[in-house]
C-alpha cells in the first residue's frame, strides 16, 4: 500500500486531515446564517397609476377592464375593448363585502378574451386588503398590467 515502513526518508502517504477547524468554521457559518435568515419574506405587487400617468399622445388604446368599487362594496365592471363598444356589468356586494367569487369569474373571462389591462377605481372607504385582492385576482386571470386610480 502507500505506507512505507522500512526507510527513514519516506514519510507516510496517508495523511489525516485535521477537520476540527473546518468543523468550527462551518458551525459559525450555520449560526450566522440561521440568525440572519428571514423566515417570513415580504413580497410585492407592482402597479402604476391608471389615470394621469401618461400623456395622451403616447397612450395607445388597449383593451382593458375597469373595476369600480363603490362605498357599499358593489362592483361595476366595464369592458373597454381597443376597438368597439364599451359594455358594463354590475356585481352586487355579498355579505357586506365585495363578491370576490363573481369578480374572479369576471376577470378570468376577461383574461381569456385577451384583455390586456385592469384598472381599479376604489372608493375612499375601500379597504387596502380588498384592493390587493382585486389586483391579485387580475394577475391570476393572466392580466399583468394593473393600474390603480388615486381618489
Amino acid at each position: 500500500m502507500g505506507m512505507t515502513q522500512g526507510s527513514k526518508n519516506k514519510k507516510d502517504l496517508n495523511v489525516e486531515l485535521n477537520l476540527l477547524p473546518v468543523f468550527d468554521v462551518l458551525s459559525v457559518c450555520i449560526c450566522f446564517l440561521l440568525m440572519s435568515v428571514v423566515w417570513v419574506e415580504i413580497r410585492s405587487l407592482e402597479t402604476k397609476q391608471a389615470v394621469g400617468s401618461q400623456s395622451k399622445a403616447e397612450s395607445t388604446p388597449i383593451s382593458s377592464v375597469w373595476l369600480t368599487v363603490d362605498e357599499n362594496n358593489n362592483l361595476t365592471v366595464m369592458y373597454k375593448p381597443a376597438k368597439g363598444k364599451t359594455t358594463s356589468s354590475f356585481v352586487p356586494r355579498k355579505n357586506g363585502d365585495i363578491d370576490f367569487d363573481t369578480a374572479k369569474a369576471v376577470l378570468a373571462a376577461a383574461g381569456t378574451k385577451k384583455y390586456e389591462a385592469t384598472h381599479i377605481l376604489p372608493a375612499k372607504t375601500t379597504k387596502y386588503d380588498q384592493v390587493i385582492r382585486l389586483m391579485d385576482l387580475s394577475k391570476q386571470a393572466g392580466i399583468r398590467d394593473i393600474g390603480l386610480s388615486p381618489i
Partner: protein, 157 residues
C-alpha cells in the same frame, strides 16, 4: 464476599491510570479510552446546511420591517421586493424613513427623498387601512415623479 467501598474507590497510581487510558492492548479487559470521532459525515451535513441556507438568502437582501400591529394583506401571485422608498401607513399616520409626516407635507417629503436610483415607491400598510390613505400616497408619488408603485404583501397560499 462483598467488596467494600474503600476497595472500590482505591486510588490507583498515575502510571496505572495512564496505562488504562492509553492501553497498548495487552490484556483483554484493557481498552484504550482514546477514540477518534469521525467528523467527515458531520462536516458533509454541515456543508449541505450552509449551501441550503446560502441559497435561501436569494431575494432576502431587501426585506421590510413590519411592526407587530401591522398585518399585511396576502397575494397569491407576487414578485420579489424591489428597491425604493418605503412609505408606511400606521394607524392612519404616514411614516417615511421612520419619521411621521403630515398629510400636507407628504408630496414635498417624497420629492426630497427621490433620487435617480429610487424610482419606486413601496407602500406598506395594514390590511384594514382605508384606500383614502393609499390614494393620498399615490397622488403624492405622482406629483413627486415616482414611476412605479409597489405594495408590500405576504405570499398567499
Amino acid at each position: 464476599m462483598r467488596a467494600s467501598i474503600l476497595q472500590k474507590m482505591k486510588i490507583a497510581s498515575p502510571i496505572k491510570e495512564m496505562a488504562r487510558i492509553q492501553a497498548k492492548g495487552g490484556g483483554k479487559k484493557e481498552k484504550s479510552l482514546f477514540f477518534s470521532l469521525n467528523l467527515t459525515t458531520l462536516i458533509d451535513a454541515f456543508c449541505i446546511l450552509v449551501i441550503f441556507l446560502l441559497s435561501n438568502m436569494n431575494g432576502q437582501l431587501k426585506n421590510l420591517e413590519v411592526s407587530k400591529n401591522m398585518i399585511l394583506p396576502s397575494a397569491k401571485i407576487s414578485d420579489t421586493m424591489a428597491d425604493g422608498l418605503v412609505v408606511k401607513i400606521e394607524n392612519n399616520e404616514l411614516v417615511v424613513n421612520d419619521k411621521k409626516i403630515s398629510r400636507d407635507d407628504i408630496a414635498a417629503v417624497l420629492l426630497k427623498a427621490k433620487t435617480s436610483e429610487t424610482l419606486a415607491l413601496i407602500i406598506q400598510a395594514d390590511r384594514k387601512s382605508d384606500y383614502e390613505n393609499i390614494g393620498l400616497v399615490l397622488r403624492a408619488g405622482g406629483q413627486a415623479g415616482y414611476e412605479k408603485y409597489v405594495f408590500a404583501v405576504l405570499p398567499g397560499t
